[in-house]
Symmetry: C2
Subunit: 421 residues, 2 copies
């Protein structure tokens, strides 16, 4: 069977689903999975992945930070496919895991097909995408970021030190997988959507255009704590009331700057001391906003800072703005890879795909610094993720893997891309 | 020395201040006091009060709920003067305590003066005005409310049962002080203002017109928890955003209904789950509002309920409104008592007093159900109360006691009031 621009390798759907379900058992809780990075059950799952990759003919090992890396024995150029098999504290079974098993299945399927058996596919399960110790540790290490300081400093919420955990797992002194500029030509990350856009549009595949940039801000308001019965409105310096007015005004301002893909969220509000009878003297809000366009994020930054200055300079309430996390800029997916995924999707499921940004962060945003990168999404039922109830229809899982496989072949046969490797 | 309408008894300022400072030592912490109702240190203070009242010639005892009641041995009619000597968890030294010691000093001063030695003054320190177990327990019991069920059910935040504490203190089976309709003609409660109005106006005495009514409401918003990166604004059901819009609109509506004395406070906001990356699925706010006019409170109730219905019926976010505490109606202070306090204030400190509502609750609001009741306020420095830094200038304390004493004489000499007893 041929896609518009190449070979359509025969994915083994039963084998794919069997491996996905086996991986789910590591840390299964009801329909969900608890498999925090480098936990005993995550390490078990990683050892299991090494065995599966070895069976698939890859040189596989867990590296010095915990990433499972399966390197093809074929001559390059090589396409790298992967995602992460660690989960959130209450994670879904497919988030991350699906992309890893897609990589494994595509490596196997291409080897089994005479017309594609020459094509090199490396497979990775990055460590700690979810940030149990240090978010994106595996992909950061892979692209050559200096992660040693992070390894020494990072601790989990439960107080475990990353360095101790790596030592105990026997990983601390192992070599770390590194991008091979002469050999790796591109990175492909299949993933669940984690939102409801595909479902709402009735589509089966998303071709990711951009991974959005993110801002995370902490805004604090300082007024004067007072008795809520005996302090007239006219002489109050109510930090909570100031926060409400601020959040309302900011919402109006962001609405004017936004397009349909811009999102912003007030995720937490704290009023101090937090009782019926006390005018809050302090208040804090956590604000996150995301957009695919760097220009728009900068305009939102400026508008937020203006509003903070305007309220603060009125003098009644002090307002302080700070980054809770460093700003993260949007990362475009490589146009040629988008095109290969789109062509494969159109060949296999005509009219059933759309281009869309990724509102969530992914290892691909790091790896895109060093390699042409692309992502494809399959629909999340009800748009749910980071939750035990996260799921995707089996039909969509298998379809996603077939399209990813077809795109992989097209990418590896693309002379322009191969030359860039 | 004569006030405009009667005798001005000679308050002993040194004795007054000495007793106030002695009472402060029970539970002193820095400048503040921790003397929770029926705690060991509160019981010590109550035994000390019984001794002081006995020395003043009163039949004094701690009653079956913990109230210290000192009954005059003189024939009636009797004026009851008092407040409460229990404190908030981080209380000020004068809140409540001052009114109790004023009562004691006035009873002594009237007995010592030939022209007033016939006048009967009873003195009370009510138990648990501050609600460690059951708010206003002493005054509720005094006016004949059935408090037995409260005594059996009430526990403190630290898990102590009121019944056990009364039993351990040897109070459980004692008689409870009761209002004596043929004998008690009025109740007078001197208190610190607990707000900054007198200070802002540069006045020394407040004649209380009304104790405001209070509403305490819990408003919950239920939407849909979602990923804050992958869920477009257009399909969100963000409970937190709904709460902010609601609080903003309610503020506008209440501003239109309010007069200068109306107050409203959003004291707490909780967004669930409360993180940067999750669109809140649930949100809750605690709202309190107070006013001296029952009509205005009802208009605010109706406007709040209308707004809840309007947002809820839009269908995107469910909004639920409930009373966190039963509504509490405003209580007017008796006009004749206001007049006696005002006349005494004008005689002693001309032009240095104002009429004002009490924004805080007091035992007087309960006792007013059974007896003509009046309150006078002295200024709180910086408007601060329920805090270790609460204080009042000594000059204002002594002035307040002199005016209360003059008013007490005038009240007991008022034939209209005496007849009502």
């Amino acid at each position: 069977m041929m896609a518009a621009n190449g070979i359509l390798p025969a994915i083994n759907a039963d084998r794919l689903m069997k491996d996905l379900r086996r991986l789910r058992q590591f840390g299964a809780q009801g329909n969900g999975v608890v498999r925090l990075a480098l936990s005993p059950v995550d390490l078990e799952a990683r050892h299991w992945l090494v065995e599966r990759m070895a069976e698939a003919g890859l040189d596989a090992a867990i590296d010095g930070v915990g990433t499972v890396f399966g390197r093809s024995r074929k001559p390059g150029p090589a396409l790298l496919i992967g995602s992460h098999s660690d989960t959130q504290p209450t994670g879904g079974w497919l988030d991350g895991a699906m992309g890893v098993i897609f990589g494994l299945e595509i490596a196997r399927a291409l080897s089994e097909c005479a017309e594609t058996s020459d094509l090199a596919v490396d497979v990775a399960s990055w460590i700690d995408e979810e940030g149990t110790f240090a978010g994106y540790l595996g992909s950061r290490s892979f692209i050559g970021e200096p992660v040693e300081a992070s390894i020494r400093a990072a601790t989990s919420r439960s107080g475990e030190r990353l360095e101790d955990v790596l030592q105990a797992a026997g990983l601390r002194n192992r070599p770390r997988a590194q991008v091979e500029p002469g050999r790796h030509v591109a990175y492909l990350e299949p993933h669940i959507e984690q939102g409801g856009r595909l479902e709402a549009a009735g589509k089966s595949i998303g071709v990711v255009t951009t991974i959005v940039g993110i801002r995370e801000k902490r805004i604090t308001f300082t007024g004067q704590r007072n008795h809520a019965g005996t302090t007239p409105m006219a002489i109050r310096r109510d930090a909570g009331a100031a926060l409400i007015a601020f959040a309302h005004d900011l919402n109006q301002i962001f609405q004017r700057l936004a397009d349909a893909d811009t999102v912003w969220t007030v995720g937490r509000i704290e009023l101090d001391p937090g009782s019926f009878s006390v005018v809050p003297g302090k208040a804090e809000l956590l604000l996150q906003y995301r957009d695919a366009k760097a220009d728009r994020l900068r305009a939102m930054d400026a508008a937020l800072a203006d509003l903070v200055r305007s309220v603060d300079s009125a003098g009644l309430i002090r307002v302080h703005l700070e980054d809770a996390d460093p700003p993260c800029e949007p990362v475009d997916m490589t146009a040629a890879l988008q095109e290969h995924i789109a062509v494969a999707a159109e060949a296999i499921k005509p009219g059933q795909w759309i281009r869309m940004p990724s509102g969530a962060g992914h290892d691909a945003q790091l790896i895109a610094e060093k390699l042409p990168s692309g992502m494809l999404f399959v629909p999340s039922i009800g748009g749910v993720s980071h939750d035990f109830t996260e799921d995707t229809a089996e039909e969509h899982i298998v379809l996603g893997c077939r399209i990813a496989a077809a795109a992989a072949v097209a990418i590896l046969r693309d002379r322009q891309i191969a030359k860039s490797g």
